[in-house]
């Protein structure tokens, strides 16, 4: 009984942690390349969820088509945000870009409130993802299996783009020295747009997995996952993509263990996550993976 209980809680932890990790990957990738903490990441994720929601509900697309369209639209949104908000402050001090990111975050949230309304909506989860498998007294909801797989797949894809493609090489160059990269004849703005497109697509994928597991979407839904993903990214060493996934897993497992072992402290779950952020920043600011850049 005790062992089953513990194992079930670990499954719960991995399920939650891989969601955090999935969202954190896009977050940390944009940081690693641009040194921009994209505070709007959680809100981009929210937009991805709404695109998928409307795809299924209003245009009655099959779920996979709707998800694909949502990911593409969110990628386009990422590029649009970059062109509209970040390009104009590209040469300004880094703090301007940071503040701009906060502004974009507020803009998306309030735009969402006006366009979609504040009333929460129920997300349609395809039946396939509602299955539950029982193995030796342990319960495995289908999404608990799918999310880590998707997280690994996206992690692999992003690592491949960064390390094995020409675009990826340009991304790595930009992260070292944007000026010199420009002098080498690389179209920096195009590469950065691609970075945002990939990061936003990953956010949409994370958001859709999130919305299927917790099928409630509202315009402010991105705030907490965004912040948790930020903690996960810092935990793993911000800018380090593998670290972000590990940080997410660690954070998810820590939260679940806290609630299951000390139930009376469950209300402090978020406080623990952000306490962890402060501790990391104080004692190991480069995070667990210890490196600064995706190299």
């Amino acid at each position: 009984m005790e062992l089953t209980f513990f194992l079930q809680q670990m499954i719960n932890g991995v399920a939650l942690g891989s969601l955090y990790g999935l969202i954190a990957i896009g977050y940390t990738m944009v940081y690693g390349i641009l040194r921009l903490i994209n505070f709007a990441h959680g809100d981009v994720m929210m937009m991805g969820c709404y695109f998928a929601y409307f795809g299924i509900l209003m245009f009655s697309l099959p779920w996979w088509a709707s998800f694909a369209v949502a990911v593409l639209l969110t990628a386009a949104l990422g590029v649009l945000i970059d062109k509209g908000a970040y390009v104009p402050v590209r040469d300004a001090p880094r703090i301007s870009a940071l503040i701009t990111a906060i502004g974009v975050s507020f803009l998306l949230e309030n735009l969402g409130l006006v366009v979609f309304g504040g009333r929460p909506k129920g997300f349609e989860t395809p039946d396939m993802f509602n299955e539950v498998y029982e193995v030796a007294g342990l319960m495995f909801p289908a999404l608990v299996l799918w999310t880590p797989l998707l997280t690994l797949a996206i992690l692999g894809a992003i690592l491949f783009i960064i390390h094995r493609t020409k675009t990826g090489r340009a991304m790595r160059c930009i992260s070292h020295d944007m000026e010199t990269t420009k002098l080498m004849g690389v179209s920096v703005n195009r590469i950065i747009s691609i970075t945002f497109a990939v990061g936003s697509a990953a956010a949409a994928a994370g958001g859709i997995m999130w919305a299927m597991r917790y099928p409630e979407i509202n315009p402010l839904m991105g705030i907490i996952p965004g912040l948790k993903a930020f903690v996960a990214a810092v935990l793993g060493g911000i800018g380090n993509i593998t670290g972000a996934m590990l940080g997410g897993l660690l954070l998810g497992i820590a939260e679940i263990l806290l609630v299951s072992l000390m139930p009376e402290l469950a209300g402090y779950r978020d406080a623990i996550a952000f306490g962890l952020l402060i501790m990391i920043l104080l004692f190991r600011p480069t995070g667990l993976m210890g490196t600064k850049l995706p190299e």
Binding site: M1, F5, Q8, Q9, N12, A15, L16, G84, A85, V87, P88, V89, T100, G103, F106, L107, N110, L111, L113, V114, G117, G118, R119, P120, K121, G122, F123, V132, E134, M139, P141, W210, R213, Y214, P215, E216, N218, P219, L220, I224, E255, I256, L257, L258, V259, S260, P263, E264, A266, G267, R269, D270
Partner: protein
């Protein structure tokens, strides 16, 4: 740097969206100015959205009070206590309202109450059920029952009707409402002879309840009581079924919004709750007059819609009896409201400004809330009530 200006314009636009609708700040004496502070956004937005529709429809039904046109002013409390206090301040100081309706939940109403109390502006809450909301306050009223009543009735229902003996709880620690209601349930349930085998906590906005549910499952309860708001209840019920915890679930009035079913779908089937109102049990003349045109406009009428409308009707009735827009006089009239036949039933404002009225037991069946039974309050003499369910 033209882009910069565009950006600034965008951000200002973003800010503007968060502001309430522009109001004309000169207080004109030829209208009756009534304010509403409600959660239009955030964690419990469905309550505010519903109640606001109800209030507006009630105003359309009764557009004049004392022969003057009624003007409504809405302030969004964003499901947040600090914003609730700000909203009440704004309504009183900027919009110069003579009375306020709000808020939907106990914590926010409590945050706004001291400000109105000090200014001598009456507040009528549609659905804040925690006893502390009105306790010791002169100007704070409500048109709903209070939590000791619904907690006791839920415990009785679980123990006597469902014959359950081992209850588990998931309590949203961030809400006065949830903590209070869980406490009243626990007291009554143990007094009846039942046992609380697991007590777990969460926080408003939590999405993951798997840790709590796994812990509860290990304790083998036969009934689960979750006196939380609709989002938390819906998500927890889905995860409970995912983790193989199959047992009857009870909740409070906070779960009775259609958002619960939108979010929880097949997973919230069978949920039972203590609520203010269910359409099948509506029998007052006001209900018959209010509901058909309302449903034509918005679809099936919800509890929070009705409670918002009732708050408006009770307030309008008090202002007419006071024959004045003076805060103290409206307060005195509200305190003497007797046998007012609202949409949700007959209510009398008793001690502390609380409504004494019946509650309904409601169950989710076939993707809708369905009426099960009516429970009369202990102290009140039962009004002759017509057999409730009419059709179906």
């Amino acid at each position: 740097m033209k882009m910069k200006h565009v950006l600034v314009a965008f951000m200002v636009l973003g800010l503007a969206f968060t502001m309430p609708a522009p109001a004309f700040s000169q207080a004109k004496s030829d209208t009756i100015r009534i304010g509403a502070f409600l959660p239009m956004t955030g964690g419990v937005a469905a309550y505010g959205q519903g109640s606001w529709q109800g209030i507006q429809s009630a105003r359309d039904m009764k557009p004049t009070i004392l022969g003057k046109k009624v003007e409504l002013f809405l302030a969004d409390d964003k499901s947040d206590k600090i914003e609730a206090a700000n909203a009440v301040t704004r309504l009183i100081e900027k919009e110069k309202v003579i009375a306020i309706i709000g808020s939907s939940i106990s914590g926010n109403t409590m945050a706004g109450a001291p400000i109105a109390e000090k200014a001598g502006v009456p507040i009528v809450s549609p659905t804040a059920t925690n006893p502390l909301v009105t306790q010791g306050k002169k100007y704070i009223f409500r048109v709903c029952f209070i939590d000791p009543f619904q907690g006791e009735m839920a415990a009785k229902y679980a123990y006597e009707t469902l014959k359950k003996r081992k209850a588990a709880l998931i309590i949203d620690k961030a809400q006065d409402y949830c903590v209070g209601l869980a406490d009243f349930f626990e007291k009554s349930f143990t007094k009846l002879g039942g046992q609380i085998v697991a007590k777990t906590y969460c926080q408003t906005g939590d999405k993951d309840f798997t840790a709590q549910i796994s812990a509860i499952k290990a304790k083998n309860p036969d009934v689960l009581y979750m006196p939380n708001y609709y989002t938390e209840v819906a998500l927890a019920m889905k995860q409970a079924k995912d983790l193989g915890l199959n047992l009857p679930v009870l909740s409070g009035d906070g779960a009775q919004d259609k958002a619960l079913i939108d979010i929880g779908k097949q997973y919230v089937e069978g949920l039972m709750l203590t609520g203010h109102f269910e359409k099948e049990a509506a029998s007052t003349p006001l209900a018959k007059k209010f509901i058909p045109p309302y449903e034509k406009k918005y679809g099936k009428v919800g509890t929070f819609d009705v409670m918002g409308a009732d708050a408006y009707f009770v307030l309008a009735d008090a202002i007419e009896r006071a024959k004045s827009t003076d805060g103290a006089k409206i307060r005195a009239a509200l305190a003497t409201t007797k046998n007012f036949k609202g949409i949700s039933g007959t209510m009398t404002i008793g001690e502390d400004g609380n409504a004494i009225k019946s509650l309904v037991i409601v169950q989710v069946r076939g993707g809708d809330f369905r009426y099960v039974a009516t429970v009369e309050p202990a102290g009140a003499k039962p009004e002759p009530k017509k057999a409730a369910p009419k059709k179906k």
